[in-house]
Amino acid sequence: MSLVYLHSLDCKEPHGDAIWDITWTAKDDAAVSISADGTIKRWDSKSGQVLRSLDAHTLGLVSLSVSPDGRYALYNGIEGLTRLWDMESGEIVGEHESYVRTGSEASEPSWSVSLNPRGGTYASTGGSGNVTIHSAEPDTFGQQQSVLQSGRGKFGMRCSHSPDGSRVALSVETGQVYIFDLQSSALTATYTSHAMSVRSLAWSPDSQLLLSASEDKRLILHDVRTSASGKPGSGVVASLTGHSSWVLSTDFSPDGRLAISGSADKTIKVWDLAARAAVSTIQDTAEVWSVSWQPSSAASSGAAFVSGGEDGIVRWWRVAGAG
């Protein structure tokens, strides 16, 4: 079986530099992108026009996390300035300078940030390999609430909350993936399926599977169900190979059947997870830093996605034969 995706739309005002993360949100069918040029933009997916954007940060933006309702965007700059943007009002409702040493608690500049789907908190990673949970409430934004320790001091590349808000996954530069339970603040599982940096993580919509995308050119699917006895899931379920360079980004389709990956080899691949094989390879013009499926009903799941890469252009793609 193979699918064909067609390039349906280019954004009308490209970013001035590489796009480092992008998310297709549930609200208004809008997509949000962050760039090395320091700007964050909200796009209309039908016209490719900019709906809202924020003034340029002095340095590039490295991490983006959008709330499930598509209203709030949490984003972080390369120096560690984290902001929460209310895209409905256009206001910045929270700001935290994670690079400032507060003295009392050990702090480090944030790298990857992730909003808790249940709201109220966000997680961040940094050079220490730990996940720090911060308050996401406007009046106490950024305040450290707890630190989840991986036990290894390696650079934390990515953190991501599970869709049900119960767990946080962390991946580090040396390839390990850690899963923490938020309720107990305990490390519940460690996966060592990669030996090179894992740049991106994606949870399945039912929070049972975790995809890791690594510089070793592979994606690995992990079973991360926690059984009643508390034992972690069985681990590696599938290994997806085919890219010829670093895999930079990955996402699960809304019905959980398809996965998508963007790579430094300038291609995007769509994978059928049941068959554990690629069903489509799309050629792009530059390194694909980020890909995101359209969040839609199961009926149209996997029909469209958006991508952003080194050339700074947001692109929308649709499956051939779709209306």
């Binding site: 480092w20 120096e79 050079g127």
Partner: protein, 502 residues
């Protein structure tokens, strides 16, 4: 109680080094605000003659106390340290208003340096004598004064701080140290004055010395070369002069290659650089003038000595594909003063059609080295106007160009925590000290977590070069070294760009 410390104060008059005497248990009297030597209200006049300065001021100080005890002898070793008997004789000498001194070079940097150093010492002595209890005074008064703690504060220039309102930023060396129990607290002052003394000596004798010399004069006191280096720069900054004006010469480290270049030295010798070997760059004080014998078309600065040697061995300055001959310089990493001065001189005197290019590693330290040539260093910020060559243009190695050359991402080195820290620090620099291209490369380096060293150019396979777009590779002969091709294309491009501007 007031008698005991007095006896301990007796310094051996021959022992003019301020080494720490364990029994020196100063109990200071009420502290007064410490003088900054730069204040205009000095208690003594500044005379014009060199050696007479100290005699006069000494006599002034002694007059204040009206007591002569051995401890008040000057710590400086001068041939003409006066005996107490001589003081009356010197009283009549020039008291500062006499501007017809025989020297005539009263405003020379040497004179300035000597005066500056001597004033600092006098300031210190003033504080010292003020802090000591007076003999023969009413004991009751003394007791009251002794009860209050006091300190000596020496203000010197802080090279690391940026001055807010134009006045130079200062830091203080205190005795006793601000925090209790920090150990031999007289050491910072001792080290500082030892350096000042040796510099003073060098100025008076007119025998230049080097920082290495200074260090070896008193290894137990200084413990490390770095201490001496820092103090010499601090001293120079405090008297607001260059290090060379203190008669402390730099030793040279940088190398030069290119037969079109010759250097005429002060002693009439001529250094001719060659095409295939490096020539040591002499210190600026020795250089009378430079000579460019041929039509030089480019100047290339390389960070690494290994790269320099490779280019020399391959006679790169005479490569047929280049628009003309040129000169290659290396500072062997962070450049020393002599190399920077050479680059600055070339930058100031060569026509703008001649590019000055820097080839550094594609990491934070490489870009920092390029910024030292271009904008000046942090340590010698006070001398930036004399050393920064803004014309310097960095040509790489840029990590973003490596895929074009067929170099795999995985061939690049992962960054170390030190690289990350340095890159973040550089990204905080103001926009006028960080070109846009550098900012982009630093961010890219942090994001990919990879850096590109110059050596990586050697890993380019010849087959890969076949496919490379013509814009990057020009005039390639079948078997030339990839580094050569990279540089040829960059230099040619830049020369063409600059000549199109004029």
């Amino acid at each position: 109680m007031s008698q005991e410390p007095l006896q301990n104060i007796l310094l051996d008059p021959d022992d003019w080094e301020m080494s720490y005497h364990p029994a020196l248990d100063f109990v200071f009297i009420d502290d007064e605000p410490a003088f900054s030597w730069m204040d205009d209200e000095r208690p003594f006049e500044r005379s014009q003659g060199m050696s007479s300065t100290l005699e006069n001021s000494l006599e002034d100080i002694l007059d204040l106390d009206d007591v002569d005890f051995a401890g008040s002898r000057a710590p400086m070793k001068l041939d003409d340290v006066p005996d107490t008997a001589d003081l009356e004789d010197t009283e009549a000498e020039g008291d500062g208003s006499d501007s017809e001194e025989e020297d005539g070079d009263e405003d020379s940097p040497q004179q300035q340096a000597v005066d500056g150093i001597e004033n600092m010492v006098l300031n210190f002595l003033t504080q010292l004598s003020d802090a000591l209890p007076d003999i023969g005074e009413d004991d009751e008064e003394n007791e009251k004064q002794l009860a209050k703690p006091a300190k000596i504060v020496l203000k010197i220039a802080d090279r690391k701080k940026i001055s807010e309102d134009g006045t130079p930023a200062t830091r203080s060396i205190r005795f006793p140290l601000a925090m209790k129990g920090k150990g031999a607290s007289i050491k910072p002052i001792a080290q500082f004055f030892r350096v000042a003394d040796l510099a003073h000596q060098a100025l008076i004798d007119d025998i230049p010395t080097t920082k290495r010399d200074l260090f070896y004069k008193d290894v137990p006191l200084f413990k490390s070369q770095r201490v001496v280096d820092g103090l010499v720069d601090d001293l120079a900054a405090t008297v607001q002069l260059g290090r060379a004006d203190l008669n402390i010469r730099a030793s040279s480290k940088g190398l030069l290659c290119g037969s079109s270049f010759s250097i005429h030295l002060n002693d009439d010798a001529v250094l001719n650089a060659t095409d295939s070997e490096g020539t040591l760059i002499p210190v600026a004080e020795d250089i009378a003038r430079f000579d460019l014998k041929e039509d030089v078309k480019w100047i290339l600065i390389v960070e690494k000595e290994a790269v320099f040697q490779t280019l020399c061995r391959l006679r790169f300055v005479r490569h047929p594909s280049l628009p003309g001959t040129g000169v290659i310089i290396t500072g062997k990493g962070y450049p020393d003063l002599a190399t920077r001065q050479l680059v600055k001189t070339l930058s100031d005197n060569l026509p703008h059609s001649i590019p000055i290019l820097a080839l550094v590693d594609g990491d934070a330290y490489g870009l920092d080295i390029a910024s030292v040539y271009k904008y000046g260093s942090q340590a010698l910020r006070h001398e930036s106007s004399k050393l920064a060559a803004e014309r310097v243009h960095c040509i790489g190695v840029w990590a973003s160009e490596l895929p074009c050359l067929g170099i795999d991402r995985d061939a690049m080195l992962p960054i170390a925590p030190a690289d990350e820290k340095k890159a973040r620090a550089m990204l905080r620099r103001p926009a006028d000290k960080l070109p846009q291209r550098w900012k982009k490369e630093l961010m890219s380096m942090l994001h990919t977590r990879r850096k590109a060293e110059t050596e990586i150019l050697s890993t380019v396979k010849h087959e890969a070069l076949e496919d490379v777009s013509a814009s990057l590779v020009q005039g390639r002969s079948p078997r030339s070294h990839p580094l050569i091709q990279y540089l040829v294309s960059k230099i040619t491009e830049r020369v063409e760009f600059l000549s199109s501007l004029s």
